[in-house]
């Protein structure tokens, strides 16, 4: 049974092209994490995720989780440039607040703005990033996990020890020429007993944020109208991160505890506009959270998982540019989260789950007339799954009850919603190699504290924003070919999403003041395609290719009276895609990655003045791995934006030209 499950998993995790590596390094703890969960149908995904694992992430040479997410299909990124620039992601054009981001199984909440800045999450310690459309279609999970339109699960490395060696130490230093970034990270793992192990991961980063960028325009006759190169200013930053983990096993279960802290200061470089090439905004972030989970199998049929978290986010924002309004405000967010998930196997292959989550959020600020909102959320989910040879189905219902309290305001009416989801995979040839899949899901997001309560702008009577998704696709994969042919896989999905009651800023009264209204409506039709091939043409030689393409038609259908009715919504490219080609020979790895983002518009109206050109970058990486005695060393060099394309992801936020990076990693 377990062996079959592993085989199934490797087929299902079709995006991992170095599974051999991963499996080779599986340790007891990971076995617990992977196999126990996976061996029950309730732990298996009906529709698999897109994944990138640690090995691939290392080769891509990215700094942050957001950089890596660019290689997933269906994802759109907003990147304000530079190592400190805000990076948020959006799945299938539904808006970043509809995407849940999970760090080692617990959601990274941001009741104030909707989404955390993924640029703040380092890749140094990440074992895997997985993207699920709809939801993670395994029913044994917390209730709130059923609540998003899409979810990203970031999983950090769990300790693994070779026989007779109770500790591991890994240290990495990297320098990047763009923004003069120095980053240092270290991971220490220690086995404490046969059942308990620990790890401590620390990281530090400094950058001047200075990089060259170029703006130019041509006349219609081809002559240059203007051509100017400048250096990005006020993008300096430093950040330190520390994370400590304890992992334990017990009879029929396991537990984990994590403490995480991130402390940073950064300049906000701002938009480049005529006559303004430097700004004076700064931000300090201090984010700390503690989370723990406990999973216990009470019988062959019944398992429970208890999860808890406390988070404290402190942001201090200062604008000391004397040409604009001076600002000095703090925002302090707190979150308490508790979840109990239970699953029961009713018959062989048929299981059901019930979960309950409670979440409490609070925001304090020294903004004038601030109302200090507190939010109490309750989530209850019921789900069932059937895992057959030919058909796998899952259905879930999530009830959400949210009540806010705020000072000096009649408490806004509570929100209660029931949202369903259904997933099905069909294996018509009774083989795991080919599956048709479909899902339909309704979900919603609560308006953020800023949208509801920000002094003067917020509108406390906002309704939740709803998303409805329909998806149909297939996956084709094999790893049973001749020995030189590793795995081949192809996945394609077509989908239609609608976003209702979208929260939009609306002019209020005279002279440039705003409020928030549930006015927007968006219809999205899209296609995601991924193909992957791993080939071993000769001994020691490996070749893998991963291609991904996304089509998005995301039309604003708010009102026929608007000039942008049925226009593509801002910053959503119609076409985007990426390619990664990796070549390995003994200890040498070569990686080429290419990203394409098609033309898009910087504002609602699809008119020439709002048109933003496509951009595409090629990055090269070369890694050499060598073992000297007990020490393994890894040397890497990268060239990013090889052809030195001058581009903006967000209008007036220029991205770096060609740049270089080098790193050394030592593992003892």
């Amino acid at each position: 049974m377990r062996i079959y499950v592993l085989a199934f998993m490797s087929a299902a995790i079709s995006c991992c092209y170095s599974q051999e590596h991963a499996h080779g390094r599986l340790d007891s703890v990971q076995h617990v994490r992977e196999v126990v969960v996976v061996s029950k149908p309730s732990g298996r995904d009906v529709v698999p995720a897109q994944r990138l694992n640690g090995e691939q992430l290392e080769r891509l040479g990215s700094y942050s989780v957001a950089d890596a997410m660019r290689y997933f299909s269906g994802i759109q990124i907003k990147d304000y440039g530079g190592v400190g620039g805000i990076k948020t992601i959006n799945v299938r054009s539904m808006g970043s607040s509809h995407l849940g981001v999970y760090y080692d199984g617990v959601e990274l909440g941001n009741a104030q703005n909707g989404q955390v800045d993924l640029g703040q999450f380092s890749l140094d310690n990440v074992e895997e990033i997985a993207l699920y459309n709809g939801q993670k279609s395994a029913i044994f999970q917390p209730a709130s996990d059923f609540g998003n339109a899409g979810s990203v699960y970031i999983r950090t490395k769990a300790p693994s020890f070779a026989a007779g060696k109770p500790y591991n130490l890994k240290t990495k230093v990297k320098y990047g020429s763009s923004g003069e970034v120095w980053s240092f990270s270290s991971l220490y793992e220690q086995r404490l007993s046969s059942a308990v192990s620990s790890s401590v991961s620390v990281g530090a980063l400094t950058a001047t944020g200075k990089y060259k960028f170029r703006y130019r325009r041509s006349n219609t006759d081809g002559t240059t109208a203007y051509d100017t190169t400048a250096v990005r200013q006020n993008g300096d930053m430093w950040a330190i991160r520390a994370e400590a983990n304890l992992y334990g096993m017990m009879n029929g279960g396991n537990w984990m505890f994590k403490a995480y802290t991130y402390n940073s200061e950064r300049g906000i470089p701002g938009a480049i506009v005529n006559n303004v090439w430097r700004r004076g905004e700064r931000q300090w972030d201090h984010n700390t959270f503690f989370q723990g989970s406990l999973r216990k199998e009470f019988s062959e049929r019944f398992s429970s998982r208890l999860t808890a978290k406390y988070a404290y986010y402190d942001t201090h924002y200062v604008n000391n540019d004397t040409t604009t309004m001076l600002i000095d405000n703090y925002y302090k967010q707190q979150e308490v989260y508790v979840s109990l998930a239970n699953v029961y196997e009713i018959l062989k292959g048929w299981s059901a789950s019930v979960s309950y989550d409670f979440k409490w959020n609070k925001l304090n600020s020294d903004l004038r007339n601030f109302v200090f909102p507190r939010r109490y959320s309750h989530y209850v989910s019921v789900a069932t799954a059937y895992d057959g040879k030919v058909v796998k189905v899952q259905g879930s219902l999530l009830g959400t009850f949210v009540k806010d309290n705020a000072t000096n305001q009649a408490g806004r009416s509570a929100v209660s919603m029931v949202t369903p989801a259904a997933f099905v995979s069909v294996y018509p040839f009774s083989s795991p190699a080919f599956a048709l899949r479909a899902f339909a899901k309704k979900s919603f997001r609560m308006p953020t504290f800023n949208e509801l309560y920000y002094t003067e702008v917020g509108n406390a009577s906002l309704k939740p924003e709803t998303a409805i998704q329909y998806n149909l696709g297939f996956v084709l994969s094999t790893d049973s070919g001749p020995s030189w042919l590793g795995r081949l896989s192809l996945q394609a999905d077509g989908y239609y999403n609608t976003v209702h009651d979208k929260v939009v800023a609306y002019p209020k009264g005279q002279q440039f003041r705003w409020t928030m209204l549930n006015l927007g409506r968006v219809h999205i039709a899209g296609v995601d395609v991924q193909a992957q091939a791993d080939i071993r043409p000769a001994r020691h030689l490996g070749l893998s290719a991963r291609l991904q393409y996304t089509f998005q038609q995301a039309h604003d259908v708010t009102s026929p009276s608007l000039s942008y009715y049925e226009d593509q919504i801002p910053y959503i490219p119609r076409h985007s895609g990426s390619a990664i080609i990796a070549l390995s020979y003994k200890g040498l790895d070569f990686n080429y990655s290419f990203i394409y983002v098609g033309e898009r518009y910087s504002q609602q109206e699809n008119i020439p003045v709002n048109h933003v050109q496509p951009w595409y970058t090629s990055d090269l990486g070369l890694t050499y791995r060598v073992r000297i005695g007990k020490v393994e060393a890894r040397f890497a060099v990268e060239v990013n934006n090889l052809f030195s394309q001058d581009y903006d992801v967000i209008l007036n936020y220029p991205m770096p030209k060609r740049n270089y990076a080098a790193s050394v990693e030592i593992t003892i």
Binding site: Y215, R217, S218, N219, T220, G222, A225, Y226, T228, A271, I272, V273, N274, N275, V276, T322, T323, T324, M325, L326, R368, A433, E456, L476, T478, S480, G481, L488, L490, A492, Y506, P507, K508, G509, Q510, Q511, T515, V529, A531, L547, Y549, L562, S563, H575, G577, A579, Y596, G598, E599, S602, Q603, Q604, I607, P608, V609, Q613, P614, W615, Y616, Y647
Partner: protein, 392 residues
């Protein structure tokens, strides 16, 4: 058997993916943004006004301030509207007109544009919109003229004595050399200015003050260029215009909560340093005085209906009383989402209303005849709010 099928499907799939990536458009040379032209369908009537510039603010950070030109030079021919002419006329200007255009005035054969978030005033030829000078003034707001000098209000002045807030400042600029020759400290966040009897009056908004304690108009003696005093009017002043009777008209934005937006008439004393204030219970966003008629538009937010209430009309300047409670009964006026600027032809009294829509997309310019008949509308750049006539 499976393998064969896979290989063929895979080959095709990879080919299709490659093809998809290949057909996806490549970058092209970034061209100077071209202007475009729309026939309004209206007829030119001759006269001394040959055109009108419309300055569109563009949203902060977008660098999309733009200037449009309405060509009224013909006599009987169709009136044509040219959108976004600045980049084409000034192709070497790095990053075009800049970020957030806040004021435009024509002075002789020069056109002055105050580009707020680009911290500069751009001077261009009035007949062809070609840049002749740039004057760096931080957070500049409005411009007005007297004799050989331009006066530019700026939010950025010295920090108040014993406090932390920045007072505002008015810069004096030589209109021949385009050099800043002097400056004077005024109240908090000064907006519009008006010249009367050798004095410059400055409406101080206090827009950055959280307690709305600024309520004054600064009086600056032009000969000595010093602030002589302050006249208390209301919180958050914005517009300030002189009428032909030697009085001042001011508007306030209110505090957006208990204090509403209002219109005020200031009757100055002989010295010009104090005034009696008449208050009209009319919210005003923009106004234009022609003869004894003060044309206004106003928008007020209703918390009850979560919608904007739009007002417009004419005030009799001599009697300080409403003359008409509407500018027009044309049904087209109700299409205006957010009236943001108004300008009246001083000769024929036909008028133009600028609709800023949702501030996030193209605006519209509406033209009405003197009797209020709707004539035409055209699309403008983002957030049209300021206009100036060009004379022969």
């Amino acid at each position: 058997m499976w393998n064969k099928a896979y290989k063929s499907v895979m080959k095709k799939a990879i080919f299709i993916l490659m093809a998809a990536l290949a057909v996806a458009a490549c970058r092209e040379d970034e061209l100077v943004i071209p202007s475009d032209t729309q026939d309004t369908g209206g007829n030119s009537v001759g006269g001394s006004i040959v055109g009108m510039y419309v300055l569109c603010e563009g949203n902060m950070g977008t660098n999309k301030a733009s200037v449009d030109y309405l060509d009224l030079s013909g006599n009987g021919s169709n009136v044509v509207y040219h959108r976004n002419i600045y980049p084409e006329r000034n192709p070497t200007e790095v990053k075009e007109l800049g970020d957030v255009g806040n004021d435009i005035k024509v002075n002789g054969n020069r056109m002055w544009m105050v580009i707020n978030c680009s911290n500069m005033v751009v001077v261009a030829t009035a007949d062809s919109c070609r840049k002749v000078a740039k004057i760096d003034i931080p957070n500049c707001r409005y411009v007005t003229f007297d004799g050989a000098f331009a006066y530019v209000s700026s939010y950025v002045g010295p920090v108040e004595v014993g406090g932390t807030e920045h007072l505002g400042r008015v810069y004096k600029v030589d209109t021949a050399s385009y050099k800043k020759v002097d400056s004077v400290t005024v109240g908090y966040q000064p907006e519009e200015m008006a010249v009367l009897g050798g004095k410059l009056y400055v409406a101080n908004s206090g827009g950055y003050l959280l307690d709305h304690r600024e309520k004054t108009v600064s009086v600056v003696d032009l000969a000595s260029f010093t602030e002589e005093g302050k006249i208390e009017v209301a919180p958050n002043l914005h517009r300030l215009r002189a009428d032909r009777h030697g009085r001042l008209w001011a508007t306030s934005r209110g505090d957006y909560w208990t204090e509403p937006s209002r219109l005020f008439r200031l009757t100055l004393d002989a010295a010009g340093t104090s005034a009696s204030v008449d208050t009209l219970d009319i919210p005003v966003s923009d106004l234009c005085i022609v003869g004894d008629s003060l044309y206004y538009i106003g928008v007020e937010w209703s918390y009850e209906t979560s919608s904007n209430k739009i007002g417009h009309g004419i005030v009799d300047v001599a009697r300080a009383e409403p003359l008409a409670s509407s500018l027009t009964s044309a049904p087209e006026f109700s299409d205006i989402t957010l009236p943001y600027g108004i300008i009246v032809n001083p000769e024929d009294r036909d008028f133009y209303v600028m609709d800023a829509k949702d501030y996030l997309s193209s605006g519209q310019l509406y033209h009405f005849r003197a009797d209020g008949t709707f004539e035409w509308r055209v699309w403008t750049g983002d957030i049209p709010g300021h206009a100036a006539f060009v004379y022969k």
